[in-house]
Symmetry: C2
Subunit: 314 residues, 2 copies
């Protein structure tokens, strides 16, 4: 199990630069006052397809050699990775085959098909998703691009923190949310290479705390049935992301559901930008643990902006 190195991140950044937005880093004095520290928000909610996932998907798609790429890519996902992979594949002019549970929200299915992705529906269980994907891959020869437990995906996600540090300069802490750990492990690789001494802290919903438990125990824990408003963080760490997390991440701290909802609303009201619930988890952790962050210059990656406007949690 090879871990991406700094040269892999640099290569990924070169590879994807023409396809991804270099998203802005925003600050908000009102939130600084409330938090008691300086917070720099890297706005991946403004990324194409609405989330950082487009970085990893683009890197994976464009890193493939031409023969392999010709057979297309495939994945199972009901969320941001599905749309991101469909758009990345469209940009390369290859097919994306996406296995989605029948129960996925229509808006998510529409995003995938709008980008030209070919959807195969399946029963809403992990088993059905994996089995259907296997069939699709066997039938088409498409390459499976895992949403996070994938070398090239992690290298791509690592570029968000690279841009954050390039723009923000010295940070005491970098925080990201953790679900499957793609953004977290990529961020950790970048921070430890660009700014050793900066702490990497992951934020996880306490109602989906498998990464927290795995990190504490040192052994990969399965996701108990998660039940959180942060619907982008329902997945569990994989072997590769867990290995990187164990090696490079300084801490994982959990946030309450109400804290996540309050933090999300605070960003909407004060910054006038739309973030999805998963993006609010780091700020929720910060506001519930002020003593840890007091006076420390902290970068937060706002992971995505695909909030469901018909089902707001506040």
């Amino acid at each position: 199990m090879k871990i991406p190195g700094w040269h892999d991140v640099l290569a990924a950044h070169d590879r994807i630069a023409e396809w991804v937005h270099r998203t802005p880093v925003l600050t908000c004095r009102a939130i600084d006052r409330i938090a008691g520290c300086e917070v720099l928000f890297k706005c991946e909610n403004f990324q194409k397809a609405g989330a950082f996932k487009f970085r990893g998907a683009t890197n994976a798609v464009f890193a493939m050699d031409r023969t392999l790429a010709g057979k297309g890519v495939a994945t199972h996902s009901s969320g941001n990775h599905a749309a991101a992979l469909a758009l990345a594949a469209a940009n390369r002019g290859i097919k994306a085959r996406i296995v989605m549970p029948e129960t996925a929200p229509p808006v998510k299915k529409k995003a995938v098909s709008d980008y030209g992705g070919e959807i195969t529906l399946c029963a809403p269980t992990l088993e059905a998703r994996e089995k259907t994907l296997e069939e699709v891959v066997a039938r088409t020869g498409a390459t499976f691009v895992h949403p996070y437990n994938n070398f090239d995906v992690i290298s791509g996600q690592a570029t968000a923190a690279k841009e954050l540090i390039e723009e923000a300069g010295r940070l005491d802490i970098v925080m990201v949310p953790v679900g499957g750990g793609g953004l977290l492990s990529g961020t950790a690789i970048t921070v430890k290479n660009m700014s050793n001494g900066t702490l990497v802290i992951a934020a996880e919903p306490e109602n989906a705390d498998d990464a927290f438990r795995s990190f504490r125990i040192g052994v990969l824990q399965p996701a108990l049935p998660p039940n959180t408003v942060a619907d982008g963080l329902l997945t569990a760490l994989g072997p590769l992301t867990f290995r990187i997390v164990k090696e490079y991440v300084d801490d994982i701290i959990c946030a309450s559901e109400q804290g996540i909802i309050d933090a999300m609303r605070l960003v909407w009201e004060r910054m006038k930008i739309i973030i999805e619930p998963s993006s609010a988890v780091p700020l929720a952790v910060m506001l519930a643990n002020r003593e840890l962050f007091a006076g420390r210059r902290t970068g937060i990656i706002l992971s995505g902006g695909n909030a469901d406007l018909d089902n707001l949690p506040f």
Copy 2:
């Protein structure tokens, strides 16, 4: 009735530059595709106090001589001008006395008092507002800063279009929403001075179409009881703003309520930024009149971001 000239706008911009945000100009390829033209959005939803109103209020407050300023400023408003004037006065270290209807939303009252404004409540009629304001002014010697029918306020609002053109370059059309006409008349002065040949088109809710009717007839029309989701556009043109509108504005076009709501949602979903309903009126006009805008490079000023998250229209 003196109309602000270009030198007044330049002076206003110098005066307020250290106090206001130079807000970004954003583009969105998805909206360009939908609209069939290139749209550049000047994001005053990110302005301090959440709306362009802070420009005019700041200019009015800092243009006052020291003696006059010492007695403070006053206004009646239940909306963005109230908060903007309170913050501008706080920045100069003088008092702001704000007459608000008892029925104003608690969040609006809180914004004013958070900025240090002194609130006097009154009955929710224009008569009560004006009478209460007169009493406050008589008692305190404060200077009344009208929300739009005011030379310095108009000069301040004109600076948003100046920044837009400085950043965007040549535009075929500039669009803004119109309520009392402060933003519109300021924008028109700027456009005609910086970019003669660029059309200035105002967008008004058809359910509050007094400016449209006044413009067509050439005589100032009163606001019929307006009933629109665009709660920042309930006011009618004043004598000064109407004079400027007659002289410099090329057209006023109305938008339906459903069109405004759809345009607002489109901006939220595609740009991931929060705008209030009033800000969506120009885009609503554009999407209902595609033939007018096809292929024309159009700047739109997004007037504010103070949407009521507990009462979304969609």
